[in-house]
């Protein structure tokens, strides 16, 4: 037997751990600011870069990809080496992964407040950063598979399988959802339009939750929970079933984000059924984690690491029960667009991802620095602050969500809407928004305590850059007399690694070939009166995207009487064929805008943007006064129209060189004239003109054509 001595790389683990703490605090701070802006709209100090619409994606990206992402890498780099009994495949790739990821985060932190966004949730970053993500992710995947190939332990522990599923699936998801047509360095248009874009986006969005926030963390749970408890997982068999069931079910559940929208009904039902099936493996996993502690609950009382883990696994169980329930169409008809969704994701995010990350940090720092945790007491304070934070966050927001849902649907005895003014439902729940920010503050305070505790721990100890270990080399068993010998040779060792890479390459190549071909064909309008946006409206729509309006306003009227009474005719798939990207939104903090066109005069919009509370007392919408003074970016118009034409919008050839500008001037002059009749003076070259033109266009294509009702 050939015993080999090797070293585990602790430096890379420490780097990711520090990044996790720093970005965690940053992400939570941004979240807190967003929460405050929801009851105190002036909190942005009328500064456009920190307005809610722009920092909402910053918050989600920071906590998902910066905090949890770094936490994931930290845990994987630590556990994978030990599970494989091997150092990481390549130190260069490890550090490339680390610095690449941090640069991407910095890129996100700069571009999102500047308004460079694709508007697709959790995929907001513009195309140059998307390319960078793909490169760094592939570097990580190669490092992961390389380490697995050179492992010294034949059996691949279940955690490794979870890591593999993350690497493979995120690659595919990211590539498919990122198909965009650049129109300049920081602007691009989705290749998909309308309903198709929505389906791709939520296929991605749901699986980002599944394969970025869930599977890697489950792998980490299966490593760190037994380690911290000092006893094996309750049932290893169950963990294997958990993995394989999850990996085959998860990817089909995406359409549950689009229930009752213009998505075909069968796709909605498919998503709902798969979502419900997910309860089984998820709860199997949760019980497996909790039952590991049977007979060891006394340790939970003493060890903060286990405390955080138990709470995290419980939160996982709660979120994975609630998620499928919310995917039931009847429940979804109430919960969708309300704060219920926000409560759901924060239960999962703060509880499952946050607490598991904290537990890993508390587990790793003393081991990396070869000392004891500086203060167990402080860690316990952190635990309870975090718990209270979660409760103070989710309980008020559940109340808010259900209140909103019920108020939107309430009819009075004469069969009119009980609360015809949308604002009433928001004014009602503002106190809940205030309470929520207390919860967020408590949670953040706990995280700060942890940062201090970990800092003191690090100071007290001595960092061990490499941990020496020994294990026998894994013998190559391909020549074994087994009968299935050629199959083994094909898949085991290096060939397996290359097979996976080859499949990925083929998949990516195939996508790039197939997608444009399919979609240009499919974007033929089915409603004749639906026409492409005019040049001014295109620029206005891009402003709508830049300001993140869709963070609070949906553009999708569901086929319920409560919605058609309030907003007008329900939305149809054919109305969105020129929407690159789709802007349905997922949340209503303000009314739906799908039929906003013609509802109010131009001057109303002007005054409303300048100060929403002047026209709608009690509104929580921020002021957008900079739109009134900033000049519209007309230089980019040709590139934008050309890019849109390339993704299938039928602008005539040469339209962007001359005719488009003329069209734009004419429409801008019209808006200015309308504003004047509303006693508002405005230059035609201001951004607000384009935004008004876009808002007045919304939903009018089919409104004006078949039934000629008076615009109210």
């Amino acid at each position: 037997m050939n015993i080999e001595t090797f070293k585990y790389d602790n430096r890379i683990v420490r780097a990711f751990a520090i990044a996790t703490v720093i970005w965690g605090i940053v992400g939570m701070l941004v979240g807190l600011l967003a929460a405050v802006e929801l009851f105190f709209p002036g909190a942005n100090l009328n500064f456009q870069f920190i307005t809610f619409g722009r920092i909402r994606p910053l918050h989600t990206n920071a906590v998902i990809f910066a905090f949890v992402g770094n936490g994931m890498f930290m845990g994987i780099y630590y556990s994978l080496q030990r599970l494989c009994k091997a150092r990481m495949f390549s130190d260069f790739l490890s550090w490339f992964n680390f610095w690449g990821w941090q640069l991407i985060i910095v890129g996100a932190a700069l571009t999102l407040p500047l308004g460079f966004t694709t508007s697709k949730e959790y995929a907001e970053l513009e195309w140059p950063i998307k390319v960078a993500i793909a490169i760094v992710w592939i570097a990580f995947s190669v490092n992961l598979f390389g380490t697995i190939v050179k492992r010294r332990e034949k059996h691949m522990y279940v955690a490794i399988w979870f890591f593999i599923s993350t690497a493979v699936t995120i690659t595919v998801l990211h590539v498919v959802n990122s198909m965009t047509m650049p129109a300049g360095l920081f602007k691009s248009y989705s290749m998909y339009a309308g309903v198709q874009d929505a389906l791709v986006q939520w296929w991605y969005g749901h699986n980002a939750v599944a394969f970025f926030l869930t599977t890697p963390y489950l792998g980490l749970m299966y490593y760190f929970l037994p380690k911290a408890a000092g006893r094996p997982i309750f049932s290893y068999r169950l963990s294997i079933i958990h993995f394989w069931a999850l990996v085959f079910l998860y990817i089909w559940a995406g359409p549950h984000h689009l229930l009752y929208t213009a998505l075909p009904d069968w796709a909605q039902s498919l998503g709902m059924v798969f979502s419900l099936m997910l309860i089984a493996p998820s709860w199997g996993g949760m019980l497996n984690g909790l039952l590991t502690l049977r007979g060891a609950w006394d340790k939970v009382r003493q060890d903060p690491v286990l405390k955080f883990m138990v709470a995290a696994v419980t939160a996982y169980g709660m979120a994975t029960l609630e998620g499928p329930l919310m995917s039931i169409k009847t429940v979804n008809s109430l919960s969708h667009y309300t704060d219920w969704t926000i409560a759901h994701v924060h239960g999962g995010g703060l509880g499952w991802n946050g607490f598991l990350t904290f537990s890993m940090l508390y587990y790793l720092f003393p081991r990396l620095y070869k000392t004891q945790l500086w203060s167990t007491k402080l860690a316990n304070y952190h635990f309870w602050l975090g718990m209270l934070g979660i409760i103070f966050y989710v309980v008020p927001i559940y109340v808010a969500g259900i209140t909103e849902g019920l108020m939107w649907k309430q009819f009075n005895k004469d069969s009119f809407l009980q609360y015809p003014n949308f604002l009433e439902s928001i004014v009602q729940v503002v106190p809940m928004f205030r309470l929520r920010s207390i919860g967020g503050t408590l949670y953040l305070l706990g995280t700060l305590l942890m940062a201090y505790n970990l800092y003191r721990t690090a100071k007290a100890g001595r960092f061990e850059p490499d941990t020496e270990a020994q294990a026998p080399a894994l013998e190559k068993t391909a020549e074994a007399p087994h009968g299935k010998y050629s199959f083994h040779r094909l898949l085991e060792g290096k060939p397996m690694f290359f097979t996976v890479l080859a499949i990925l390459a083929i998949l990516v190549g195939g996508m790039i070939e197939i997608i444009p071909m399919f979609l240009i064909q499919a974007n033929v309008p089915t409603i004749a009166s639906v026409k492409p946006y005019t040049p001014l409206e295109v620029l206005g729509r891009d402003l709508y995207i830049r300001e993140g309006c869709l963070g609070c306003h949906s553009q999708m009227i569901r086929p319920f009487r409560s919605e058609t009474e309030r907003y007008g005719d329900y939305s149809k798939a054919g109305e969105y064929v020129y929407d690159h990207p789709f802007l349905w939104g997922s949340e209503r903090k303000g009314p739906d805008l799908a039929r906003e066109g013609g509802r109010y005069p131009d001057a109303w919009h002007f005054n409303h943007m300048d100060d929403p509370r002047a026209t709608s007392p009690g509104s929580i919408m921020p002021r957008y006064s900079w739109l009134l003074t900033q000049k519209l970016d007309r230089e980019s118009l040709p590139a934008r129209l050309a890019a849109l034409r390339r993704v299938g919008v039928p602008y005539p050839a040469g339209f962007e060189n001359g005719p488009a500008q003329k069209d734009l001037d004419a429409q801008a002059a019209k808006v200015v004239a309308n504003l004047k009749s509303g006693s508002v003076t405005c230059d035609p070259d201001k951004e607000i003109v384009a935004l008004i033109a876009y808002l007045q266009r919304l939903g009018t294509d089919i409104k004006s054509a078949p039934v000629t009702t008076a615009a109210n």
Partner: protein, 104 residues
């Protein structure tokens, strides 16, 4: 809705990759032993509490499960007659992790 075809292809491709991986894992004997892997994870750690131990004992700790792993590897290729041997090997293994666990 032709995008559905793309998504189906992508999802099925991912699914097929994992079907392949599953078939490989079963046929290569990854799941023939569903007991020791859960215990082996608990070994091989140089935790802070293990630090005072001499490096000698750490080495012996590492090599012992390694020997067992080797036996298991041999057993993989002779299914049937050595199956009993394998469980014999795994039955002893719980002592090692629980011993370290107690120290923690």
């Amino acid at each position: 809705m032709s995008v559905v075809i793309i998504l189906m292809l992508a999802s099925l491709a991912v699914g097929l990759v994992f079907v392949g991986a599953f078939v490989w894992s079963v046929r290569s004997g990854q799941y023939e032993d569903t007991l020791t892997p859960s215990m082996r994870v608990l070994l091989d750690d140089t935790t802070t509490t293990n630090v005072p131990q001499t490096s000698k004992s750490a080495v012996s700790q590492v090599s012992k499960p390694a020997e067992r792993a080797d036996q298991r590897r041999a057993a993989d290729w002779e299914i049937g007659d050595t199956a009993g041997l394998e469980t014999g090997g795994t039955l002893q293994s719980p002592t090692a992790p629980s011993a370290t666990a107690l120290k923690i």
